[in-house]
Symmetry: C2
Subunit: 583 residues, 2 copies
């Protein structure tokens, strides 16, 4: 037996008992003839003591020890004279009589502690050492706990966990698939799923009623900082439900997770139509931790000699709480911020609503105190607030103001990581016009049902049709999204047609789904949560990479195992493939 | 709202209340002016009644209904006059006043009932309809329940569920990998994991202490009846443990599953070394539901004039309980059975131990009654039993007798699907000699630790070295297997060398693992259960295909979605690949 207890287990009550511990050496301190070893495992740290009265051979063994050695040590638990209240085992130490080195360790390439000296690349190459750090492992323990909590919640709600296939079929619609050559059927290919979408819908046709799965999905995209080629979804589908049933079920799940894992009641989940979110926050994923709701100033601010406003399609303002004392320099920097290419505004107008009731603005030339008074009233601002205005083409202006609002939230310290404001954004547009391809794309996916009241417009004004689609947004992050599905093969065929599929293409790609709808498909709806994002939100992290045990870098490489890598000619031959790189 | 209750919910207590149900029409019966509809969903079947007094329009609607239509129906719950005790809702029916057809259905290609008329191919093509059948869905519900039970058990035992990557690196050792071309790194490839083996070992090096995952794995093999290119493993690893710790932990899990899901205590798990299993059952996965343990007759049966025995390396016998009355025809058929090429014996010898104490054998010419008496005594047979003997080269003869033993178990009805006899087979050989390649292969995998007492023989007689490897076998099916791992980079390097890897190959394939071992690797061991097999065993099925929602056929094809399939030239170009099929 390698251990009688873990390194997190011993307490005062164990004093006097003989124990064996195994673990990693966090550090060795030598004080006179005494040696103190901090022995670490996943469960904690326990102090070992090698007394000056220890045997010579034990003393010699101790001399060889270094950081990250794996040892097994046996001895008697003693109550410490000077206790360490910072760790749960701090009341005791173990007086060692026997010690075995199970594995020596070379000097690690970086220090194994919370504040490590290792850079990103190095820590990824030695990920197995990085994972030894408490801060990193705790994220993955949280992930494990969340997965168990999610499954138990959904299981109790009668959801059937069903595994859908990983080797499926490539569909050129949407993002790029990873493909897998078939050896038994040379010249043919499987694809890895971007989501189990059609399979979960088929499970509804099959009468499974409620399906869920925590499942790996794959997208061969050019990677941004917070994307991974493989990622994990909490994937769900329900039959005989309307949108409200889905929202309530998954609000329940989210609420349960907050309560169980963070001890938090996140309050009511606001439900906000997409159009309202765009008008009020300039974003379909508003951060609700703070206000600064947009005010449409288009009517109110026009008609004076300020040409920029007069020629603008849209003028929008936010009132920033208590920021009237922003200095000239701070305001200049805000102007520079909105002028950055990533934001793209031409300029910014401000109005300081001074605490003495007067106004000072960057457009005092064109607007008198009375004009500015109507502005602050329209924005419900109070003395001490700062009004910021942007103008221009409507969609762009709203987006620019969204960026400015988030920047102000950041500057004023309103993005508290321990505050959680979940909300539903609903009624997304069904279709998006794509200028490049000159055709409509599905905003959610081609299986999303239009709102019944907008059905007529599919023929007359498809771009205005709203979908029964919804996103769960928490603190400005899209955590999940879903929709009520089409369950009628005629409507599904019409959708494919609108999306530019020929009848043959639709049949080749999704014939089995449309065929399935001919045999009694129930009304159904579903949702998928980004599990990596949800965990990183709960962990208070900015990147999903830290909640993935073995992530890939931004080039899609695993630099620890050095993958992807070349394969043998024999493997290529068996697959009937040849490498054909065009320089 | 589509329903107030499910089709499995209504009882006598609901009588008088107004309810709305939704579901599929199982059947419609018309009796005089009355119509009875069996409405089905996942939860059960409820009888709907459309009275002769119903409105004309309702009557007309009912005329249009057919099997598998999805309808929504509202009415009052009535206690039935003639109750149906076979179904939980059999005390009531719903007197319908309002009915909506949610989805009509074409006539299904086969009947949706337990004994369907659909053939295998047809049911696979319309898998979404096959899954509507209770018998099929119940297997998948069992699978879901087992997964939840397994996770909760392991979670309570401090295992951390950790997702390992799906896009990994190809290793030519072992079975064939599925590979995934990289677009961002043209000419390079990922591979899909055959198991998360190295990652779970790295998690032990990382100090995770206990890891588990229910995970998809992939093997590009020529498929036998009970293999799938993608399959699911319960994958586990533990640090600071010896073999016994692993066996006890997973015996605990197995016992828990039997108790929770089958209400069974499967008794003690016998632990049997591989060598003993081979001698006693001719198999490393003995079916322990019945006896017929092998008796080595090599010494006892030689020395008379029966040349076949005299020249045989090995002679083995089983005593078949109460089968002395087997007819000549039955015995001839047994001889034919062992002579089938799949079994491969030259012939079979029998001895009938008649109830009157006399013997009748197929070798009476060579052996007298006294000889045969010593035989039956050696086999512990009693009057009424039948002795069956095979002889020849030892390994082959044992295998042939194993096949004969199973056949006898089948003929005598001893393979009861409701009896479960789990056992551990231990101490497998570390290496297997491969005649084709003239080198050793790892019997389990290259990371398996030799038994410490056999370590010396690695240099002198590698083929005789036993491994700290173990299989969980239930009813003759290998449910899982695992081993204590090597955690020393020098020993690991030696193993790679024995397996014919050059130093460069070992470094290129597993350098990161051997490198990891340099930074303090703990002793560790693990196991993986075949989840599909475990579920099919619990479900009393012979094939894993019936516990997989969307399985592939024996050519690795999904005939429902028609995959694998060709991809576009654009996709090939992006991957830097060309199809190059050599006819």
């Amino acid at each position: 037996m390698y251990r009688t207890h873990t390194c997190g287990e011993l307490r005062k009550e164990h004093s006097g008992s003989e124990v064996t511990l195994s673990g990693w050496i966090q550090r060795v301190r030598r004080l006179g003839g005494m040696t103190f070893i901090d022995l670490r495992d996943r469960y904690g740290i326990t102090q070992l003591v090698i007394d000056e009265k220890a045997t010579k051979s034990l003393q010699q063994q101790v001399d060889d020890l270094g950081r990250e050695f794996v040892i097994q040590a046996t001895g008697k638990v003693l109550e410490r004279e000077s206790k360490n209240s910072k760790i749960p085992t701090g009341d005791v130490e173990v007086d060692i009589t026997e010690l075995t080195i199970l594995s020596p360790s070379a000097v690690p390439p970086f220090t194994i502690q919370t504040d490590t000296d290792g850079g990103d690349e190095l820590r990824m190459k030695y990920r197995y050492l990085d994972l030894r750090r408490d801060v990193v492992r705790e994220n993955l323990v949280l992930r494990s706990k969340m997965a168990v909590a999610i499954r138990n919640y959904l299981d109790a709600q009668q959801f059937i966990e069903t595994e859908t296939p990983v080797l499926i079929k490539s569909t050129p619609e949407g993002a790029r698939d990873f493909i897998v050559p078939s050896r038994m059927n040379q010249g043919e290919f499987y694809a890895l799923p971007q989501s189990p979408q059609v399979f979960k819908q088929l499970l509804m046709v099959a009468g499974f009623d409620r399906y869920y799965q925590i499942v790996k999905c794959f997208r061969d995209e050019d990677l941004r900082a917070d994307r991974q080629p493989e990622f994990t979804q909490i994937d769900c589908e329900m039959a005989f439900v309307e949108q409200n049933d889905v929202l309530e079920t998954f609000e329940g799940l989210t609420r349960h997770l907050f309560k169980l894992l963070k001890g938090i009641d996140p309050g009511t989940f606001v439900r906000m139509p997409y159009a309202e979110a765009m008008e009020k926050y300039g974003s379909d994923k508003p951060d609700m931790r703070f206000g600064m709701i947009f005010n449409n100033m288009t009517e109110i601010a026009k008609g004076k000699d300020f040409g920029i406003f007069n020629s603008a399609e849209y003028i929008v303002a936010i009132a920033v709480d208590g920021a009237a004392d922003y200095s000239r320099k701070q305001l200049d920097e805000l102007t520079k911020f909105v002028q950055r290419p990533q934001v793209g505004a031409k300029g910014m107008v401000y109005v300081k609503y001074n605490t003495d009731g007067t106004f000072k603005s960057s457009v005092d030339k064109f607007y008198d105190q009375n004009d500015l008074k109507t502005w602050v009233e329209a924005c419900n601002a109070k003395p001490g607030d700062l009004l910021l205005l942007l103008s221009g083409e409507k969609t762009c202006t709203l987006q620019q103001m969204s960026a400015l609002r988030l920047e102000m939230g950041k500057q004023l310290g309103l993005l508290d990581k321990n505050t959680f404001k979940p909300m539903w954004v609903t009624d997304f547009p069904l279709l998006e016009w794509d200028e490049d391809t000159k055709r409509f794309h599905a905003m959610h996916h081609p299986f999303t049902a239009p709102k019944p009241e907008d059905l007529e417009m599919l023929n007359t004004n498809p771009g205005a049709v709203r979908a029964n689609a919804y996103d769960l947004v928490i603190n400005g992050v899209e955590i999940g999204g879903g929709s009520v599905r089409i369950f009628d093969s005629a409507l599904q065929a019409k959708m494919f047609n609108l999306l530019g599929f020929t009848k043959e293409q639709a049949e080749a790609q999704f014939g089995f789904l449309m065929n399935a709808f001919k045999y009694g498909a129930p009304p159904h709806a579903g949702i998928a949560f980004g599990f990596d994002r949800l965990v990183s939100l709960f962990a208070g992290l900015d990147s999903i990479r830290d909640v993935i045990a073995f992530p890939k870098n931004n080039s899609g490489r695993d630099i620890m195992i050095e993958s992807p890598s070349p394969i043998t000619q024999e493997q290529l031959d068996e697959l009937g493939l040849k490498i054909n790189i065009k320089k």
